[in-house]
Symmetry: D2
Subunit: 145 residues, 4 copies
């Protein structure tokens, strides 16, 4: 069972700008929705990604991203992005995402992103303790469920 405390939830209303001539959300925009979801996951744990960058020079650079498209989202749809952490191994972090059509609850897309902790010069660095401890705590509780 998932503990809802460990799931970031971001709500996005589809913009006209995000549609394409097929009349649906252009696929690369789901990758942007993952970013929005990740930031809300961090906020739920009490962190602001803006401050991770500014105060701790800690940047979660994307090393790999993967997305499976299940059903098209359309203009003005209300989308829910559910984000959780999958693993933390040294400088590597993986998040998993579900993108849902909120009123209908249908799955639109799902995916994962793997990140490397770097400083502002893109040099590999260690995740500051406060973040690592919070992520480890979430992972332990997820596994214990």
């Amino acid at each position: 069972m998932e503990n809802p405390n460990h799931i970031g939830e971001a709500r996005i209303r589809v913009r006209y700008a995000e549609t394409d001539q097929m009349g649906v959300v252009y696929h690369a925009n789901y990758i942007v929705s993952f970013e929005v979801g990740r930031v809300e996951f961090l906020r739920k744990l009490g962190f602001e990604y803006r401050l991770m960058e500014q105060e701790d020079d800690c940047h979660i650079a994307v090393a790999e991203v993967r997305c499976r498209f299940k059903a098209p989202a359309r203009y003005d749809d209300q989308i829910l992005v559910r984000t959780r952490i999958k693993f933390l191994r040294g400088p590597l972090i993986q998040f998993a995402y579900e993108v849902l059509h909120e009123p209908r609850g249908t799955m639109l897309a799902e995916g994962e992103s793997t990140h490397m902790v770097v400083n502002s010069r893109f040099e590999r660095t260690t995740l500051p303790t406060k973040y690592a401890e919070a992520f480890e705590r979430v992972l332990t509780e997820q596994n214990g469920e």
Copy 2:
């Protein structure tokens, strides 16, 4: 050995709009570069994706996309996107991409996208023969090399 005739090549100059506050190309924009590469691959085979949609009601909807980020691209960089077909199985097509920094030749990103052939109502359909034959021919020649 790769037959250069079976590699689509698209050249892209990085726009300011495509950078982010890390001073590099925002990662989701590589997924857009895959689209640009795919279209040039088709053009090299003699096909215009625009006409595939308009005249044959044949749309190559994205079912899955995957991208591994190797090195950051920066503003005004000249990027080369090399695209080839990996497989064709019924209504499924997979393309593979390499995104290179053109003057330096370094790999910036690589990935794959899997597509489903659909009509304009997103109903699964068959790839019209002229495309299927061309793709099969390329795949046979690639394997024979």
Copy 3:
């Protein structure tokens, strides 16, 4: 005095994707925020732009847009887009926008967009009565204030 009932209010959280290498929101994204504001203005009047297109084949195509940039917005900023109608003359509609940094209340950008009512084939058409009446009512009340 402005009647707050005639101001659409849209709230937007700045995404990483929307920043550029100056560390601020890339200017063209404000034009997208105008679109978001316009849709919320219509929603406040009881209209869904999605349905205007689908049910009435009424599309508010952009004929001109203008934006003055006052102060930069930054990543994760909470932005408020305030939208009102400026005029309605036959098939022409003009909206005006203020983009504010919500917690600080400072003006980030302001602008106008002029639209032409067209059908899905981009042919000039008349605004269906229900919309025209609602817009006229708002304009009359604004002028009477």
Copy 4:
């Protein structure tokens, strides 16, 4: 008469990502095409905007932008962006743009952008002499024609 030496020319192929559900290029993307045009105008004068930022800490921040939309551009269209300088007054520079459908030569959009020369902290600064002199020379020659 325009001196073609004083017109930057940028060619852009419309991407699927840039279309919207009306089947045409989403309007805010023309503002991005202005950026692409401006950079090619500078390149024609012998300047790289990338180096203006890096070596001279000279950033041409956008203060105002205006665009009039004449005809829709569609997917895979080949677009030509013609850019020229309109004025230089202290820290203010204005550029004008014409966006054309290249094979047909029809006007798609036209507009202007006004810029303020700033440093990387967005403080108003003076345009370094080498740029100011080149711009003045172009302006003088334009007026003399």
